[in-house]
Amino acid sequence: MSMHSKPSPGPLEQLIRKNIADTFKPTVLLIENESYKHRHHAAMRDVDSTETHFRVTVVSEMFSGQSRIQRQRLIYSLLKAEMAMEGGIHALTLVTKTPEEYDIVPVVPKPDIS
């Protein structure tokens, strides 16, 4: 476990936060930068950015009545530009829940991608 405090959010992370907050008015919005986990992967070798992989948890009433695919599509289309740009988001792990769903499973299990 690192002794250093978490680095402050980079520009891309701030953009993600703003976009999602404005659109979904989430009760919970967690953004974890997981780029360090993928730094050494072949696909990331020539990439300098430290903002390539994010795990985003969004809890919003606006997801009510929407299937998982619909919810994720909304987020993907919101972040379309950030994903398409040079040095932009390479991959997103998305957790999308309504407040009711989130309360039932408060601790979201983290996938081990190693």
């Binding site: 993928h38 992967h41 072949a42 696909a43 998982r68 695919i69 994720q72 599509r73 993907y76 379309k80 994903m83 991959a91 997103l92 792990t93 998305l94 957790v95 499973v105 299990p109 996938p111 991608i113 190693s114």
Partner: protein, 252 residues
């Protein structure tokens, strides 16, 4: 069951496989002398199909045409579900699939109804043995056989009841998310077909647009997009996934 009138006395070079032994015997046949007098084992074309996979009809007629052209090559049509051992041996997880086999080796493979690729690979492997000069593939492929991209994508999505598009192969995934999704499907005892999007740029980009989904891996059940690794993980946790999987895709 085919009931063609057999005009000549010699056995047809394209047959519907009835018994595993036919395939085994053919693969063990000693080669004819090729031009340089060395004995070369013949290449055998094995075409795997299923009656519920629409694109197989198209591929079957291509196989029939190729058999007429390469008369010295043996073509087998194998109904995948009836020959599980053979399908497993060649790692057939979805249909249509064409395998070019030379004794125990696989010298070529085409996943999906990629007509031009099938024609090209058969030509490369069989032209010499049939005394035909290898022609560039564009000269051989009839335009009306090559499905447009959307048709091809639809066919790929429907190749198996549970179909996953990943980076790398199911045995050797080339990305953490792809590895995770394959692991989850295996754990749930689900039978699935896969397509390696790293092998085909056209499919890789085309499928993102076709399904309006920007990332891989992508899981489809009964031709419908279910989602990526996150969604599949959530659905397994909630118990929703297994309800969507058709009975024939659950391993016994």
């Amino acid at each position: 069951m085919s009931s063609e009138v057999v005009v000549s006395k010699s056995k047809s070079n394209v047959i519907q496989l009835q018994d595993e032994s036919e395939l085994r015997e053919t693969l063990e046949v000693k080669g004819q002398t090729a031009g340089n007098a060395a004995k070369v084992s013949p290449v055998v074309v094995i075409y795997f199909w299923a009656d519920w996979a629409e694109q197989c009809k198209q591929v079957e007629s291509v196989i029939d045409d190729l058999a007429k052209k390469y008369t010295k090559t043996q073509f087998f049509k194998v109904e995948a579900e009836n020959f599980e051992d053979i399908s497993e041996a060649y790692e057939i997880s979805a249909v249509p699939t064409v395998i070019l086999a030379q004794k125990a080796k696989i010298v070529g493979r085409v996943d999906g109804a990629n007509i031009s690729e099938i024609v090209k690979k058969v030509a490369e492997a069989c032209a010499a043995a049939n005394g035909i000069k290898s022609e560039p593939s564009s000269a051989v492929e009839p335009a009306e056989f090559q499905p447009d991209l959307n048709t091809r994508l639809k066919g790929l999505i429907e190749r198996a009841p549970v179909m996953v598009f990943i980076k790398g192969t199911a045995a050797q995934p080339r990305c953490g998310f792809s590895k995770k999704i394959v692991g989850m499907l295996n754990e749930q005892n689900i039978k699935y077909g896969y397509f390696d999007i790293l092998t085909d740029e056209q499919v890789r980009q085309g499928l993102k647009e076709y399904s309006d989904w920007p990332t891989y891996p992508q899981l489809y059940i009964s031709g419908e997009l279910v989602g990526g690794v996150d969604i599949v993980a959530e659905m397994i946790e909630s118990g929703d996934l297994i309800g969507m999987v058709p009975a024939e895709a659950v391993a016994k």
